[in-house]
């Protein structure tokens, strides 16, 4: 079942950023949107979510309604100085479910605490936001997205400031949540290491080279396609059951 579909969609703020796009986001998939910095990934994400009007083409909702979205923004865009507790931030994920005028109920608080528990930071619920580490803050934002009871979990560059080990832990967490909540996932990233073994589908995006290509991950994680995307030689190798991607010094073949 498809959640969102873009048909011959021309995306951009005033001028087209990418060639016309055909993209169907199906239930249960994990789509990684991959491209260098400033490639147009966020514009694609906004267009997919209906936040950026299309210049041309169509965005359709095959279910007849927008899917419920849990969104994890880039952590550094948020202000840590707000005098909020972790629980207050996670409760924000329930705002749409509760609706206007009503206050958060005991059930909402329980759901928010359960989301924190599931992420493994249940003990931080009453801690002030400013006292969190970067990794803990990231998890709080994921807990807020889960508290929204989403069908679609969208993560915008969640691992951009993480070391490889922390990145792996976070992606494993997202994979576990996907399976536990039967979610579809869209992950926007410029980090190649995040993709293998995580995404089922990959969209390659680059406005400079006017590249947009989407397909199953095993077809897209391919040296020639990645070399075209990054303008450099790329090697893909198997290390045990993992896939390693190395960007070389040379020009693409």
């Amino acid at each position: 079942m498809e959640l969102i579909r873009l048909e011959r969609a021309v995306i951009g703020y005033r001028t087209p950023l990418l060639p016309p796009i055909d993209l169907a986001l199906s239930a249960g998939t994990t789509l990684a949107v991959l491209g260098p910095n400033g490639a147009g990934k966020t514009a694609l994400l906004k267009s997919l979510l209906g936040l950026l009007p299309l210049i041309d083409g169509r965005r359709t909702l095959p279910q007849g309604r927008s899917p419920r979205v849990g969104y994890v923004p880039q952590r550094d865009r948020l202000d840590m100085s707000w005098p909020l507790t972790v629980l207050q931030v996670v409760l924000m994920g329930r705002a749409r479910l509760v609706g206007p005028i009503r206050r958060y109920s005991a059930r909402d608080r329980a759901a928010a605490r359960a989301a924190l528990q599931e992420i493994g930071i249940g003990d931080l619920a009453d801690r002030p936001l400013y006292a969190l580490s970067g990794g803990q803050h990231q998890k709080v934002l994921i807990a807020r997205a889960i508290a929204a009871e989403p069908e679609l979990l969208v993560l915008d560059e969640p691992t951009s400031a993480m070391d490889p080990a922390a990145e792996r832990v976070l992606l494993d967490l997202v994979a576990r949540l996907k399976s536990a909540h039967n979610l579809s996932v869209v992950l926007v990233t410029h980090q190649l290491t995040a993709i293998p073994g995580f995404a089922t589908d990959v969209a390659l995006v680059d406005r400079e080279r006017k590249v947009f290509e989407v397909g199953p991950a095993e077809q897209m994680i391919e040296p020639q396609k990645l070399a075209l995307l990054y303008g450099r030689e790329v090697r893909v190798a198997k290390v045990g059951d993992k896939t390693a991607i190395v960007i070389g010094d040379g020009a693409p073949p």
């Binding site: 979510l49 936040l51 927008s66 979205v69 849990g70 969104y71 923004p73 865009r77 948020l78 202000d79 100085s81 707000w82 005098p83 909020l84 507790t85 207050q88 931030v89 409760l91 924000m92 994920g93 705002a95 749409r96 509760v98 206007p100 005028i101 206050r103 958060y104 002030p128 400013y130 807020r144 929204a148 969208v154």
Partner: protein
């Protein structure tokens, strides 16, 4: 007579301005928490100036139409400066809700332009020979001479404060969400534009009415200083709001009293008293940074 006895004996003179100051301190202390956290301090300053343009414009229009505001009952209700003040401030608030930024002209630049142009407009109108006789009234608005406040303005301030409280009680969770993380609120389908508009309109109405009552300087100060002082001391939203309201109320009351006893300008004295509340927070920050 001692200072306080003298002050108490004159209570019939200061009752209204004191009530107006305390009311303005309380409601601006509350709204200021959002103003400071949303980093829209200059929106508050610009709204205050823009509402001043509304008042000046009302006087100018009356002069052009040949209406003498000194004649009892001469000014038609529609030319009442309060309406123009509200209209101008609300129009600006609505404009700011559209986030009229451009890659070469950030929203804060546009807010700054609003402030500068409004200040210039008020001064221009103030010095217009057509309305020279009204200059003192516009001057009060600009420089915050909160010595005499008609009862009508207290009612207006009370109504504006009530509207702000009702809006915040009903939609607190939405206002908090869109203020803290606009982007996520947009993605999750919370009506961001309407809540930002509500927040800005409520802020504009309070600022506009309070500016008429106590002056631009104390209004700007009450919408920034108490909240900043409270934020430095508190780590919880609820206690921040309580402290900020308390600081606003005390600043207005003590400031008015000090200005009476020492014969100082009222609005400016209120601001000086409010500034004292920044000291505990600054000491706290200095202590932390020296550890």
């Amino acid at each position: 007579m001692s200072g306080f006895a003298d002050f108490w004996a004159g209570r019939d003179l200061w009752r209204e301005p004191m009530i107006a100051g305390v009311l303005a301190g309380a409601i601006l202390g509350y709204i200021g928490v959002f103003v400071v956290l949303k980093r829209m301090v200059f929106v508050s300053a610009a709204l205050s100036e823009i509402s001043g343009v509304g008042v000046a414009f009302a006087f100018w229009l009356s002069a052009v139409l040949g209406i003498d505001p000194h004649l009892h009952g001469a000014t038609p209700l529609l030319l009442e400066p309060t309406w123009f003040s509200l209209l101008f401030a609300c129009a600006a608030a609505a404009l700011f809700s559209f986030q009229p930024g451009h890659r070469k002209l950030a929203t804060e630049t546009i807010v700054g332009l609003g402030y500068i142009i409004s200040s210039a407009l008020v001064l221009t109108i103030l010095n217009s020979p057509r309305i020279a006789q009204e200059a003192h009234a516009i001057g009060d608005i600009l420089f915050g001479n909160a010595v005499t406040v008609p009862r009508q303005q207290i009612y207006a301030l009370l109504a504006a404060a009530l509207a702000a409280v009702i809006a915040h009680v009903l939609f607190f969770k939405e206002l908090l969400f869109v203020s803290y993380d606009r982007e996520t609120a947009v993605v999750q389908g919370v009506g961001v534009f309407r809540y930002e508009l509500l927040l800005n309109l409520v802020t504009a109405i309070v600022i506009s009415v309070a500016t008429r009552a106590v002056g631009a300087l104390p209004v700007f100060a009450f919408s920034v200083i108490p909240a900043a002082a409270a934020l430095m001391l508190s780590e919880r939203m609820r206690s921040t709001i309580v402290l900020s309201v308390l600081f606003g109320v005390i600043s207005a009351a003590v400031g008015y009293y000090a200005s009476w006893v020492e014969q100082l300008p009222t609005g400016a004295t209120m601001v000086v008293v409010a500034s004292l509340f920044l000291l505990p927070g600054l000491v706290k920050i200095l202590r932390r940074s020296s550890v």
